[in-house]
């Protein structure tokens, strides 16, 4: 292929082609229509940043520098009360564990109430589902704040917050898993003359248990992550230590705690993936 064949296309030929196939050529209107959303987005971002006083970012440089220096330069490391920090981390793990466990137990009961094929009464099902929607709609951190207000500062509030928000989400996932099971096994158990509990135990549970375990382990992992920040509203765990030391301007210790939290999260990710792989033989990584 030589260049000649390309240069041989004359302006007149292009015009003919344009007249014959107008849709194949770009128009000014098309250009505007294509770029308009991008222009709008850019104008919006600039406008909203201006509205949010983006200029303050520029004034902050010396404070940011001081903060960063404090993050990196660690002083008086022997006075950091490590026992306190690690107790906080243990508390975070304990909160996530207990919260997920309670949420799982609760969801085991509520999940069946919200599943169409187990709960024949539509009214009960709908009420249960709407309550679950509300539990899920309110953020875990808000639940944390509410429970701190109700039962006081400390891990109890955190456990309850995790429990309530997990109950909302896990029950929904469980009820979906229950609805998607194979009917034949249930009918087989029913044919042997089993009572309702027997049907659930031998007809439903064996089919849904792997899904349940996998979901709960996944939630345990994600709760460990969110339990680290529940303490920011006073609901116990490492977050509480983090915010105490942040308020006291001990930024080097904050940096140390954050590093610990990140290591913890990575470790939990790895462990949870391992357990899931082993417990339910999941091949893909969740």
């Amino acid at each position: 292929m030589s260049m000649a064949s390309i240069t041989a296309v004359s302006a007149a030929q292009i015009d003919t082609a344009r007249a014959a196939h107008p849709g194949a050529f770009d128009t000014v209107g098309g250009q505007i229509r294509r770029w308009f959303p991008w222009g709008l987005a850019i104008v919006y971002v600039i406008g909203s940043l201006w509205y949010f006083d983006v200029g303050r970012l520029l004034d902050a440089s010396d404070r940011v520098l001081a903060l960063l220096r404090n993050f990196v330069v660690w002083q008086d490391m022997e006075t950091w009360q490590y026992a306190n920090i690690y107790r906080g981390i243990a508390q975070t793990l304990a909160m996530a564990f207990l919260g997920t466990l309670l949420g799982t137990i609760g969801a085991l009961l509520v999940g069946f109430l919200a599943a169409k094929n187990v709960m024949p009464i539509a009214l009960v099902r709908q009420i249960v589902r709407r309550i679950l929607d509300v539990l899920r709609g309110i953020d875990q951190l808000v639940w944390g704040l509410v429970f701190v207000r109700a039962v006081g500062l400390g891990p109890l509030a955190g456990v309850l917050a995790i429990f309530v928000s997990d109950l909302g989400t896990l029950s929904k996932l469980y009820s979906e898993a229950i609805e998607n099971i194979d009917r034949k096994q249930v009918e087989g158990i029913r044919a042997t003359g089993a009572g309702p509990l027997g049907i659930i135990r031998y007809g439903y549970i064996p089919q849904v248990l792997p899904v349940f375990i996998s979901q709960s382990l996944y939630f345990w992992e994600s709760n460990t992550r969110s339990a680290t920040i529940l303490g920011i509203v006073g609901a116990g765990g490492i977050g509480m230590i983090l915010i105490e030391r942040f308020r006291a301007s001990l930024y080097d210790q904050v940096a140390f705690v954050v590093l610990n939290v990140l290591v913890l999260i990575f470790a939990i990710d790895w462990l949870s993936k391992r357990i899931r792989l082993w417990a339910v033989g999941e091949k893909h990584d969740g």
Partner: protein
């Protein structure tokens, strides 16, 4: 299990227990059950130890729970608004004071809440746009089939990991300290976190994109940015859009609570009413937040479905 024989009769005849198919099966089953039982006991023991440790560390004792649970119900009783049917739609009286028991009384600060929710939504939109822009740019070097060289790949991957590894609210805390109380801190925090989370998803989409259009652009002498723009972007744009919309839904939730540390939005008001008042204001704000989040989710779902439908994706 190498000595299992299904030709039972002959072995049985040579002494020892009879080894027909049934008893072999039973023996095998008993063996499996025994292994299983050992594992079950180990798991149960590990679980009990974890449970015991957790209860001890978080002091989740029955008596504390028994003390706490009634207080929860007491608290929820105090935040229920005292509405009366006959007065429900009463307006303000001549003195401009709302009648107790009416909706106007319950939502005295309604317009403050609306303004804050508006701010919350704006924060979420801005943060999503900023985060998406950063994620978009970084998703190409962070995809292992597209990265121009390995250190750019490594660098952008680690950067995205750090961005999404730190919880938003911690970032917001730092930003509030650095640039002061206000929505800008929240926007920055959410934008950074979204950039990290979206960047990973975008990079995964890029890794699944077909290499043929890219090869085509390479063949006509396109540079790396051109290869990305004309070879990859048209393939991945619908997925990117859908992920960005999902992220927007998440960000609305995030920006409604990020005010807890002073980073703007309705969260600040939510924190204030929950921490300092124990009355129907709590439920008023909470109900508005839940309503907003639900409505935004519905709208965003509509848009996503329509967009994906149009792209025949």
């Amino acid at each position: 299990m190498s000595d299992i024989s299904l030709t039972g009769g002959a072995v049985g005849a040579s002494g020892g227990p009879p080894r027909d198919a049934v008893s072999t099966f039973e023996a095998h089953r008993a063996e499996l059950r025994a292994t299983r039982r050992v594992w079950n006991i180990i798991i149960l023991a590990a679980f009990t130890i974890c449970l015991g440790l957790s209860i001890w560390i978080s002091q989740f004792y029955p008596d504390r729970l028994a003390n706490g649970v009634p207080r929860i119900f007491e608290y929820f009783a105090t935040i229920i608004p005292d509405l009366q049917w006959d007065l429900l739609f009463e307006g303000r009286d001549e003195a401009g004071r709302a009648v107790a028991g009416s909706l106007t009384y319950w939502y005295t600060d309604f317009w403050t809440y609306v303004a804050l929710i508006w701010e919350t939504i704006l924060m979420a939109i801005t943060a999503t746009l900023l985060g998406t822009a950063v994620a978009f740019v970084l998703s190409f070097p962070a995809a292992n089939n597209l990265a121009p060289n390995s250190w750019v790949y490594w660098l952008s991957r680690r950067f995205l990991e750090i961005c999404r590894g730190i919880p938003e609210i911690l970032l917001a805390l730092v930003f509030v300290f650095a640039i002061g109380i206000g929505p800008l801190a929240g926007v920055m925090a959410i934008a950074i976190h979204s950039a990290g989370a979206l960047g990973k998803l975008f990079a995964e989409v890029n890794e699944n994109a077909s290499s043929r259009p890219v090869d085509g652009i390479t063949a006509v002498g396109g540079t790396w940015p051109e290869k990305m723009l004309y070879g990859v972007v048209p393939q991945v744009a619908p997925n990117f859009f859908s992920y960005a919309m999902l992220r927007f839904e998440i960000n609305v939730r995030a920006s409604s609570i990020i005010g807890f540390v002073g980073a703007g939005g309705i969260g600040q008001e939510l924190n204030r009413v929950i921490s300092f008042y124990s009355d129907d204001r709590v439920l008023a704000v909470l109900a508005l937040v839940v309503l907003t989040v639900t409505v935004i989710d519905l709208i965003s779902e509509r848009i996503r479905h329509r967009f994906i439908g149009r792209e025949n994706f």
